[in-house]
């Protein structure tokens, strides 16, 4: 594999994201696989912002910890990002005449970095451009170093500013200025991208939030209620931007409780609706989640994780809310919990989440995190085939006519799932009831009834568990990753994980197995959990019992999935790679950590 990392850095408000997005898409269209990763602080202007684009000739779904080419739009890049430069890397900056400290000079020498001051300000003066165009000048300078076609970069800028003619013209001048400066002033300065392959050109390049928005739309979601909170807000923005075209009702609610209640009301009436928030907002929603459990009302909660406790690290990532999702809400009840790991999951699991919520008549929690929500993925176009929407509703007029009110919460239902028909149906009516109730939703506090209804609702866990898939096993065979079917061969080394760390784990495994130092007799498998509750354990137990070593990889401090597996199987995973500093796993660091465990 050939791969490079290009990072653009500067102050928030300097257009780091917009130019990062343009460069990332241009690289993808030029025939490379791209994964982009953003870091920023919880403020609007002035904080440090960086946009890292990993570019490769094979599929990648993660970032590395070191940059090959740095574009910095202010001197903060020297403080924050020089230390992350790979030996032999190139630094482009616009701080002409900058005096590096002696420590920085020593580092530059030690790392053999080539530092190039681009006269961005003079170039902009010459073309009458505003300082806001600094990002475009530097990006065009870099693009010229890649030896790529000017027209491709210009197309990306045109797509972005198609509706603003004057802005577009100024951007075009900035592109020309950047390219000309490189050609005239440092013609020898080049930077090789990995070999191009046409198969990447027509892939999608999208964030996890965009993919999730499309997945929800595809699954027939018709209403979305949310209160802004990073990193869930990008999803609100995505869906809000689609509302006029799709007719989806979007409501920015006055608080998270409102968002959760409006979603619940809309679902009770029979449409598909969802709400999304992060940890703190989710705490506010959990009483409503519990309400839906007893009223047996389908409900979809999207929980975009960031590090806590408290306000924590608002713009960073974590996988720390798994236990909360499984245990939140008062009382004992059935729920489904799943986690998306990338754009593909974020799209394709949304209909499964709705189907589970509706057919089991219970809350479902979808875990995502900042890394998926804002990570930019190269993705094969999603399949055109329409998904099957399983709604579990009684709609046939004859069947409706034969219903009794007491059928709604009939405690004798074998699977715990009793008939659900929608308000407005010409049929016997019932009360959706958050007090303990008998079949028709009438409040009933007798001991017999309380036990029967609790048993009924909890039976749904068994039905849900039976319907859910086992975790997916990936194995590296002949230096290619493949998904292993159910009748697995044994694996010597079993890696277990869930959620967004999948991208780095898969990338790192390829790196590890291509390392000549590895004992080639060992087979390595990665067991990845999408559905986390109810927890499927058959496959894990089978693999764990014959594996020579099991390694748990999670983005939290306590190994939360590991604890759940021990709780459900008695198997304790002692080898752990845990990360809980707000940063995602970087594939080079993770590969080293895995090697150390082998």
């Amino acid at each position: 594999m050939s791969s490079v990392a290009v990072t653009i850095t500067g102050a928030q408000g300097q257009g780091i994201d917009s130019v990062g997005g343009i460069l990332a898409r241009a690289c993808k269209r030029s025939g490379r696989c791209v994964f982009a990763y953003r870091e920023y602080m919880s403020l609007i202007k002035g904080g440090h912002s960086r946009y890292q684009i990993d570019i490769a000739d094979r599929f990648i779904g993660s970032s590395v910890s070191q940059t090959d080419l740095l574009l910095t739009l202010n001197h903060h890049g020297f403080e924050h990002d020089l230390k992350h430069m790979r030996p032999g890397g190139i630094v482009l900056h616009d701080q002409e005449g900058w005096k590096f400290s002696s420590a920085q000079q020593a580092w530059i020498a030690e790392r053999n970095l080539r530092v190039v001051a681009v006269p961005v300000h003079a170039l902009l003066r010459d073309i009458g451009g505003t300082p806001l165009l600094r990002n475009v000048v530097l990006a065009a300078f870099a693009w010229s170093m890649f030896g790529e076609d000017r027209a491709l970069l210009a197309d990306m800028v045109k797509e972005r500013y198609a509706r603003k003619e004057d802005v577009l013209a100024a951007n075009m001048r900035a592109i020309d200025a950047g390219i000309r400066a490189r050609e005239e002033q440092v013609p020898d300065l080049t930077f090789a991208l990995p070999p191009a392959d046409a198969r990447w050109k027509d892939r999608l390049l999208l964030s996890g939030s965009q993919a999730m928005g499309l997945g929800l739309v595809r699954a027939g979601m018709r209403a979305f209620f949310s209160y802004p909170m990073t990193p869930a807000s990008p999803l609100l923005t995505v869906i809000a931007d689609l509302q006029n075209e799709t007719g989806i009702l979007v409501k920015q609610a006055e608080d998270e409780i409102t968002a959760a209640q409006m979603m619940s009301g809309a679902m009770f009436m029979g449409t598909r609706a969802a709400t999304a928030t992060s940890g703190g907002g989710f705490d506010l929603m959990t009483e409503t989640l519990s309400m839906n459990a007893i009223a047996e009302n389908p409900a979809l909660f999207i929980l975009a994780q960031r590090p806590g406790p408290g306000t924590g690290l608002p713009t960073w990532t974590a996988q720390g809310d798994l236990h909360m999702a499984i245990h939140c809400g008062h009382g004992e009840f059935a729920r489904g919990v799943l986690a998306v790991s990338d754009a593909n999951d974020a799209y394709s699991l949304m209909n499964d989440a709705f189907n589970t919520a509706e057919t089991l008549q219970t809350p479902v929690i979808v875990l995502t995190d900042k890394h998926v929500a804002e990570g930019i993925f190269t993705q094969e176009p999603f399949a055109a085939a329409a998904p099957t929407l399983s709604r579990g509703l009684v709609t046939d007029p004859a069947a409706l006519a034969s219903l009794q009110s007491a059928d709604r919460y009939d405690p004798t239902a074998a699977t715990g799932v009793s008939p659900r028909w929608l308000p407005g149906s010409h049929a016997a009516t019932y009360a959706g009831q958050a007090d303990e109730h008998r079949g028709d939703g009438s409040v009933e506090e007798s001991a017999d009834n309380a036990g029967a209804q609790m048993d009924k609702r909890l039976r749904k866990m068994k039905a849900m568990k039976a319907a859910l898939p086992e975790p997916v096993l990936y194995e590296v065979v002949s230096r290619e990753l493949r998904v292993v079917s159910d009748d697995v061969p044994e694996v010597d080394i079993l890696i277990v994980g869930w959620g967004s760390s999948k991208g780095a784990i898969l990338d790192a495994l390829l790196d590890v197995t291509q390392d000549s130092g590895l004992n080639t007799q060992d087979s390595i498998g990665f067991l990845h959990y999408s559905w986390l509750w109810p927890l499927k354990t058959d496959r894990f137990e089978r693999l764990a019992k014959q594996a020579r070593k099991i390694v748990l990889i999670e983005g939290n401090a306590q190994g939360q999935l590991g604890r759940l597996l021990r709780q459900e199987t008695g198997i304790e995973i002692t080898e752990k790679i845990l990360k809980y500093d707000g940063r995602p796993f970087f594939r080079d660091e993770l590969a080293a950590a895995i090697r150390a465990k082998l």
């Binding site: 409503t288 999603f382 009360a431």
Partner: protein, 295 residues
């Protein structure tokens, strides 16, 4: 009063709304009157039980959830308004009534009330206003008179009483009515008009609580409530004055109504020109066009 006497069975009757569950409110509770007026209003509007959704907060009034027929939802304390709004928006053709007490609506759920008025959701909100938390045995609400001794406030509450009507009018409502749990005919008329309102209908029902409210009793309300006569309900300032000045008597009836202001749903550009309801639209949506922009 004009309850249709239907012998064909095609129109709803009071019997259709009857429940086999016995009422559990205290003798003399205002909930009996409200319960009766709600059923009458629905019957007179020829709405069958299966054609409406009645949403209940938690409190004494919430125990109505299984004493009446119709599709119903009985959820959390303080949260009935957003639940009802979400339900209504999903199915705009169905009348949705939300019931809440003064305890929940002016404390735990007060934010929802503010934003429901601002959003002008097309739902009816019936405030069971008995001036205290009845179901938890008589604690002071935000509308209890300052200084009155209540359960958990043996010295009387130190907080000022929230001037509820002035507060409601400060939010630029589109429908405000006040009525009294002892006047079933008036409640019926008011609820019918509220159901026909375009946006958010706030109906303040002054309700006797014989067990815990010793300051605004049935007899007091009977003596002080006066239906407004020759009142122009489109006059916002006059309505506000009538609503907040209760020194001599308490003005009841529909005090204010503005039908020129679109409701929340009507304001949504995303729903312009769409005849279907959200509940009709749950089918796989073709995202081919949306996806094409992400290459």
């Amino acid at each position: 009063m004009s309850i249709p006497l239907d012998t064909t069975g095609s129109l709803p009757t009071m019997q259709d709304y009857a429940s086999e569950n016995a009422c559990t409110w205290c003798d003399g509770c205002g909930d009996y009157g409200i319960w009766t007026a709600v059923k009458r209003a629905l019957v007179e509007l020829q709405i069958h039980p299966w054609q409406t959704l009645l949403c209940f907060d938690v409190g004494c009034h919430g125990n109505m959830s299984d004493k009446i027929d119709g599709y119903r939802f009985h959820g959390l304390h303080g949260r009935v308004i957003p639940f009802a709004a979400g339900a209504k928006l999903a199915r705009m053709d169905m009348p949705v009534l939300a019931f809440g007490g003064d305890g929940a609506s002016f404390s735990e759920g007060v934010g929802h009330l503010v934003h429901a008025i601002r959003s002008n959701y097309p739902i009816v909100f019936l405030l069971h206003n008995n001036g205290n938390y009845g179901l938890t045995t008589g604690q002071a609400s935000a509308l209890t008179k300052q200084g009155v001794r209540m359960n958990a406030s043996p010295n009387g509450i130190p907080e000022a009483t929230l001037p509820s009507m002035d507060f409601i009018f400060s939010l630029q409502p589109t429908f405000v009515a006040r009525t009294f749990s002892g006047d079933i005919p008036q409640m019926t008329r008011v609820i019918k008009q509220a159901i026909g309102h375009r946006g958010f209908a706030f109906v303040d029902i002054l309700q006797a609580c014989p067990t815990y409210n010793k300051f605004a009793t049935h007899e007091y309300l009977l003596a002080h409530c006066r239906e407004v006569k020759n009142h122009d309900s489109s006059d916002f300032n006059r309505a506000r004055q009538l609503a907040i000045d209760t020194s001599d008597s308490i003005a009841t009836g529909v005090l204010y109504q503005n039908v020129t202001i679109p409701n929340f749903y009507e304001r949504l550009r995303s729903r312009e020109g769409r005849e279907t309801r959200l509940v009709d639209e749950v089918t796989p949506y073709d995202i081919g066009g949306l996806m094409g922009r992400l290459v």
